[in-house]
Symmetry: C2
Subunit: 201 residues, 2 copies
DNA sequence: CGAATACTTGAAATTATTCAAGGGCCGTGG
DNA sequence: CCACGGCCCTTGAATAATTTCAAGTATTCG
């Protein structure tokens, strides 16, 4: 009962305040979910990779899209239109429970992002992001497609992100392997930076 | 199957990272849900009034409290412990659906707050808050108990909030009735301020 | 009534942004 | 295959917004 939809690179999938078309599931590609300010500033809420979903919240809550979505690469999605989705939801208790816990996790992640933005400075945000993304296990981190999207996600300009990464390398906390990969050199130290104490200087 | 819990003013109900005790429903009083930064800075996520709930997200998702909660006034809550709550949830499909749409609305509200903080400056945030709170209908607005909590909610210092309200009154967009109430004089003008255009100077 | 806390206001300080310019990578087209 | 143009990233200096610090007034609670 789902439709397959394909999108070229840079193609707008929906815009803030559009009526919600249903639930999207990414099969291939990359989708940027974001908001725009009056002046043109963009905030990247979420980068959705294959297997991820978006527009679920509006689909479930029955309101218009609270954000915009754009394909960053050639992308294939499954779109589950609103009506059949609601019908299934009304009948399938297991699905309902699954969505509920999924949504709860999403909220927690989102609260975390909010607290990052509100309670940490640039250095702390980047440090915390790196620790969070590495998951504590691997010390190798792959950055999102473009650094400017990461900057926007953390509510920084790309200039500030660049300067911040430089400061972290100069403090010997991380290594910039290539433009897209980072290695954590001193997780302990990073943690203390994330918690607001900058080491020397 | 719920317990009744009472809290004095200033009493901590739970703290960030505590195991979630269950779902709270406020019967009387006022509860502040907030997060603390390393340095002591506080961010007020939510002020819960009678009829409202808190800790639902952690209860549903099965993780530790992502924030702290404190009674701002003598408060009476119903606490639905975790286990019976989960049991009910597993059986009652209607409840599950209700929570799901409730959660979706909560997420939307929260995304809105996030975008306020990220995409608007101090003037825009306050203007948007006033418009949002008035609901477009009544032009009378009752501020939360303390202005500093509103400031924290909008990620401002109380000094900045004070100055911002002053600027709005001096531009004849609002009237400060008493310390706790505001009247919107020029909703049109406020809207354009919220959208980033400051009128004169 | 007195102490504590909240609120306002001004001046100084700080952080991040904006503006500007150069370097590097990549895809297109000659 | 190389040159060109575009976009991303980096870096520096100037700018601007908000915070911090400080002091005084107002309000609230006991």
């Amino acid at each position: 009962m789902a439709q397959i939809r394909t999108f070229d690179r840079r193609r707008l999938i929906f815009q803030q305040d559009d009526p919600c078309p249903g639930l999207f599931i990414v099969g291939e590609g990359l989708v940027k979910v974001y908001n725009l300010a009056a002046g043109g500033k963009e905030h990247v809420l979420h980068l959705v990779e294959p297997g991820g979903t978006f527009a679920e919240v509006a689909a479930i809550g029955g309101f218009d899209c609270p954000a915009s979505a754009e394909a960053m690469e050639p992308t294939i999605c499954a779109l589950l239109p609103l009506e059949p989705f609601k019908r299934v939801l009304a009948e399938d208790h297991g699905l309902c429970l699954g969505l509920l816990t999924g949504m709860a996790k999403w909220v927690r992640h989102f609260v975390g992002l909010m607290e990052d933005i509100v309670l940490r400075d640039a250095l702390g945000r980047v440090a915390h992001y790196l620790l969070d993304t590495s998951g504590g296990r691997s010390d190798q981190i792959a950055l999102p497609a473009m650094k400017k999207d990461l900057a926007s996600h953390l509510n920084l300009t790309s200039e500030t992100l660049s300067r911040t990464l430089r400061r972290l390398t100069e403090s010997d906390l991380i290594d910039l392997l290539d433009g897209r990969h980072i290695r954590i050199k001193d997780a302990e130290g990073l943690r203390s930076v994330a918690d607001g104490m900058f080491p020397e200087s």
